[in-house]
Amino acid sequence: MAARPDEGSCYNKRMPIIEVSHLTKTFRVPQKTPGLTGALKGLFSRHYKEVQAVRDIAFSIAEGELVGFLGPNGAGKTTTLKMLSGLLHPTSGDARVLGYIPWKRERAFQKQFTMVMGQRTQLWWDLPAWDSFLLNKEIYEIPEAQFQETVKELADLLEIQDLLEVPVKKLSLGQRMKAELACSLLHRPKVLLLDEPTIGLDVLMQQKVREFVLAYNKRWKATVLLTSHNMDDVAELCPRVILINHGQLLFDGTLDQFRQKFEGKMLTEAMRAAFTATH
C-alpha cells in the first residue's frame, strides 16, 4: 500500500498553483423530441436548453498538493478540469494555473502541465509507445539527455521497459495506462490533472498507478488534482478533498475534516451522505 503523504492543513500557506474564483460554465444543449416526427421537426426548428455544469466555484491549490476532486457523474468535475487545462472557455469567472489563464493556451503554460484522461489515449494505436514518446519529445522540445533520463526513470518506476517497442494495440489496458502516464509526464509537468486515471484497471494495477502518482508528486513537488470514483485512490493519495455536486462546491478541506463532519463514516458513506443532502 502506498504511504500516505503527511496530512497537512498548511496547504493554503504555500504558493498557490491553481486559483479558481467564481468559475461558471453553462452549456447550450440542443433538445430533440423523441421519434421520427421529432427528428423531422428538428430539421426546421431546433430548441436549446441551458445547462449549468459548473456554478460559481472557488478554490485554491498550493504547490505540491495532492487533491481529490470528487462528485457523482455529471457533478461538474471534468468540466472544471477541462477549464483548468484550457480546453473550455468558462462562461464567467476566473482561473489561474501556474499564473497563466489556461484557455489562452500559451505555449509556456502547456509545457508545464499535463492532463491524463483515463478513457482517452494519446498513444498511436498501430505504433509502439516509443514512437509516441518521440513525438512528445519533439512537441515539448525536450532536450535529448533529459528525455533519455526521464524515459528511463519513468519506465523503471512503471515497469514498462520491455513494452516500449510493442505496438500499443497489443498492450493490455493496464500496460497501456502505464505507457500513457509515462508519455504524459515526459516533459516533467508541474501540474497534473488526472481524470479517472485508474478507471477499468484491476486492483493490482490501480495500486501501481497510485504508487506511481505519489512517487512523481514527491519527486517533482508536482501539484495533482485528481478525479476518481474509486475511493481508494482518494483515501491513499489525497490529504485534501474538494466535493462538488450539481456544479456547486459542497466541501473543501482535509480528509480528516471531511470524516469528522460525517461522524467518522467510511469515505464512501460520507460521500453518499454529502450528495444526498444536496438533493
Binding site: G86, R120, Q122
Partner: protein, 264 residues
C-alpha cells in the same frame, strides 16, 4: 518546425503500417487512371485534336491530372470534424502545438505517399503504352509549374480545413464535405480539362478558387498560357490563398472558443 517534420515522419510510419488500406487506395487510383486513359484515347482516336488539345497534350493532361489528384486532393482534413465531435481534438489542444500546422504536415505526409505512388503508376502506364508526354520546352515553365502546384496544395488545404472546422458547430459535416469534394474535383479540372466547357462558364469559374488546383498548373506545364494569363492566374491563386487562409484562421479561432470537448 522540427516537431512538425516529426509529425510528417510518424504519419508516414503509420501509413506504411496500414498496408491493406494503402494498396486498396492505390488500386482505386490506378483504375481511375486507366479509365481516363482509355476514355480520352477513344475520343481522340479519329481526330487530330479535341477542345484545343492534340493527342499528346491530352495524354499529358490526363497523366498530370492523376499526379495532381495524388498531390493536391490527398488529405486527412476529413478527420478534423470527427476529431472535434468525438473530443479527440482535446489531445492536440492540451499540447504546445499549432493544430493548423500539425494538420498541414499530416496532410503533407499523406500527399507525399500518394505522390510517390502516383508517379510510379503514371510512369508505369506511360512506359507500358509508349505514351508521348509533352514536356515543357522552357525551364521557367517548370519553375512556374512548381510554384502553381505549391499554391494549389496550400489552397486546397485551407478549403478543406475550413470544411473540417464545421465540426465545431455541427456533427453533420460529412454532407458538406462530400458536396465540396465533388464540386471541387469537377470545377478544378480533375476529371477533364475545363476547356471543354462553354466559354462563359469557364470565365465565371476562373473567379473561383477551384481552377487553380489542377487546371491552371497543368496549363502552365503544357505552356498553353501567355504571360498575361500566367500573371493573372498567379494573382488569382495568391488572392484565394490569402482570403481562404484568413477565413481558416477566423473559423478556427471562433470554433475553438465554442469547442465543447465532448466525449473526452
Amino acid at each position: 518546425m522540427r516537431k512538425y517534420w516529426f509529425v510528417f515522419s510518424i504519419y508516414w510510419q503509420e501509413g506504411l503500417s496500414q498496408r491493406a488500406s494503402f494498396f486498396m487506395e492505390r488500386f482505386r487510383a490506378l483504375v481511375v487512371l486507366v479509365s481516363f486513359y482509355y476514355f480520352w484515347s477513344a475520343l481522340l482516336k479519329d481526330r487530330t485534336s479535341f477542345a484545343g488539345y492534340n493527342y499528346s497534350q491530352m495524354i499529358t493532361y490526363v497523366l498530370g491530372m492523376n499526379i495532381l489528384r495524388g498531390l493536391v486532393f490527398a488529405s486527412r482534413t476529413y478527420e478534423i470534424a470527427g476529431e472535434i465531435n468525438h473530443g479527440r481534438l482535446s489531445g492536440y489542444l492540451l499540447k504546445p502545438v499549432n493544430f493548423c500546422l500539425y494538420t498541414f504536415f499530416r496532410d503533407l505526409s499523406e500527399k507525399s505517399i500518394n505522390l510517390v505512388s502516383a508517379i510510379i503508376e503514371v510512369s508505369g502506364l506511360a512506359l507500358l503504352f509508349h505514351l508521348k508526354i509533352q514536356w515543357p520546352h522552357q525551364a521557367t515553365s517548370w519553375l512556374l509549374f512548381l510554384l502553381a502546384i505549391t499554391g494549389a496544395t496550400v489552397l486546397y488545404f485551407f478549403l478543406s480545413f475550413i470544411v473540417g472546422c464545421w465540426g465545431f458547430w455541427t456533427a453533420e459535416s460529412g454532407g458538406p464535405r462530400f458536396l465540396l469534394e465533388l464540386i471541387l474535383e469537377f470545377t478544378a479540372g480533375a476529371f477533364f480539362p475545363l476547356d471543354v466547357l462553354p466559354r462563359a462558364f469557364q470565365d465565371i469559374l476562373k473567379l473561383f478558387p477551384s481552377p487553380y488546383l489542377v487546371f491552371f498548373p497543368l496549363h502552365v506545364f503544357l505552356e498553353k498560357l501567355n504571360t498575361a494569363q500566367i500573371i493573372n492566374g498567379f494573382l488569382m491563386e495568391g488572392f484565394w490563398i490569402l482570403a481562404l487562409g484568413g477565413l481558416a484562421w477566423l473559423v478556427w479561432d471562433k470554433g475553438v472558443s465554442a469547442y465543447g470537448a465532448e466525449g473526452s
